[in-house]
């Protein structure tokens, strides 16, 4: 039996699957941009518009983590193992997916240049259209924070059911404050001027650590739900 079996399994299966899904999303984006180009001038970055969806996909995927906990426990592993290995898997996966996104921006730049199209980004992005290191950093930050927050929300609703809605408050705080730094869900009152790469790194580390701590506190001794047989 290998060390870190949960993390290894997730990296070998879920990370590969999520990467494939992301590539498929960008292929679909390319098709939509091509169709749009037939009827109008292309002036915005399709990859950047797609970025608005990714954060919600990330939080939804994170939300499903608790269902995975049930399976992991059924196969004889512990909550502690899960709570160490699953967040690490999420962080590594955020990095892998951010690399795919960055690659998509680069490919799009070449295509747009060849077609003579212009590329405007969404408002409040913290990177320029050709600033690839910051593109990678911003997306890695967003994906890591939103997946972790989603995992916390899923855990809270699993443990406390309807009362788990109280978890929306700390989750919203984490997402809005970090959004002011990485540019995703960037709300005016949360823009604290912390958008340089080092500041994004610090905010990301703090937000992920906060989400991890909340997740740990929620799941460390949670009982698997018992459905009473009828």
């Amino acid at each position: 039996m290998s060390r870190w079996p949960i993390g290894r399994y997730l990296l070998a299966n879920h990370t590969v699957f999520l990467t494939g899904v992301l590539i498929a999303v960008y292929l679909l984006t390319a098709v939509l941009v091509a169709v749009a180009a037939l009827v109008t001038d292309v002036t915005v970055s399709g990859v950047d518009i797609t970025g608005q969806v990714l954060q919600w996909l990330a939080v939804a995927y994170g939300y499903s983590a608790t269902a995975l906990l049930s399976t992991v426990l059924t196969h004889g592993r512990t909550r502690r193992e899960f709570l160490v290995q699953h967040p690490v898997f999420q962080i590594v996966t955020a990095g892998v997916l951010a690399a795919v996104v960055t690659g998509a921006y680069a490919v799009e730049a070449a295509v747009y240049r060849a077609a003579g199209w212009s590329r405007a980004l969404q408002d409040h992005r913290v990177f320029a259209v050709d600033d690839y290191p910051t593109i990678f950093l911003a997306y890695a930050s967003m994906l890591a924070i939103w997946m972790m927050t989603g995992a916390f929300l899923g855990a809270a609703f699993y443990r406390w059911q309807a009362a788990g809605a109280a978890a929306l408050v700390p989750a919203a705080i984490v997402l809005t404050l970090s959004g002011g730094a990485n540019g995703f869900l960037s709300l005016p009152f949360a823009r604290l001027g912390l958008s340089s790469p080092p500041e994004i790194v610090v905010v990301t580390v703090v937000a992920v650590a906060a989400g991890w701590a909340l997740l740990w506190a929620t799941l460390r001794d949670v009982a698997l739900r018992t459905r009473v047989p009828v």
Binding site: R8, V72, L73, T74, A223, R227
Partner: protein, 288 residues
Amino acid sequence: MITTTDLRVRYGDTTALDCLDLDLPAGHIYGLLGRNGAGKTTLLATLAGFRRPTAGRVLLDGEPVFENRRATTRICLIRDDGGLGDGIDKIGDVLDMARALRPSHDAKYAAALLEKFGLSRKQSLGSLSRGRRSAFGIVVGLASRAPLTMFDEAHLGMDAPSRRIFADELLADYAAHPRTFILSTHLIEEQSPLFEQVLILHKGRLLLREDLDDLRGRGVAVTGPATLVDDFVTGLTVLGERSLGPTKEVTVYGALAEQDLQAARRHGLQLGPVAVQDLFIHLTGGVP
């Protein structure tokens, strides 16, 4: 050996398990019986580390179970709701995960069991009927080869042939790879032949723990002409009765005295083992 000491589990004001002391030596098949709400599912969940006890201890070979992978990797609990994945998960993916996470999982045996139950690695859990989903839970549980394997109503929805496969496989694999099984079931008559020892939980407490043969010796089934049988059991504690034409079978509680045995022989009445289900109903309060 699995041991519980002063085990208590409460859900708010409800006491599910109360001061439960158990020591179950390894290498046996235990039947866990109890009425709805008796605490069976809670006990199994606590033994598996799915739930932390409110008080008391659970040990597997001296090791605490809760959040201790040295113990939990040697325990497998398959519940009636499966708990093996989402509807979109493929059977093959779930088995690959089992192989990755559980040291004792036997992939070849799992593949053989899939074939016996008519399942395919490509099927998704959501596409399976209730019974076939239960059969897949049986596959995961048996192939886990966990030293302590527990099934909590894991046969729900399975048809009779599939339940027969389950029973046959369990006994065959138990003979080939001796380990401890705990089977919780309401199909008492069908599954009791599998049990070596019977545990009856009632209102969160252990009401009875007895070898199956000894338990069956707690009563007698009397069969013969209806009028003779009715006369014979007068004054005895009747657990249940069935009639087929002029023939009647009455189950009575308690061992018969020597003169009763002689009287039965004299009148040509047949005496046989009692149905465990009848004893169970009687011991847990009877039918209102």
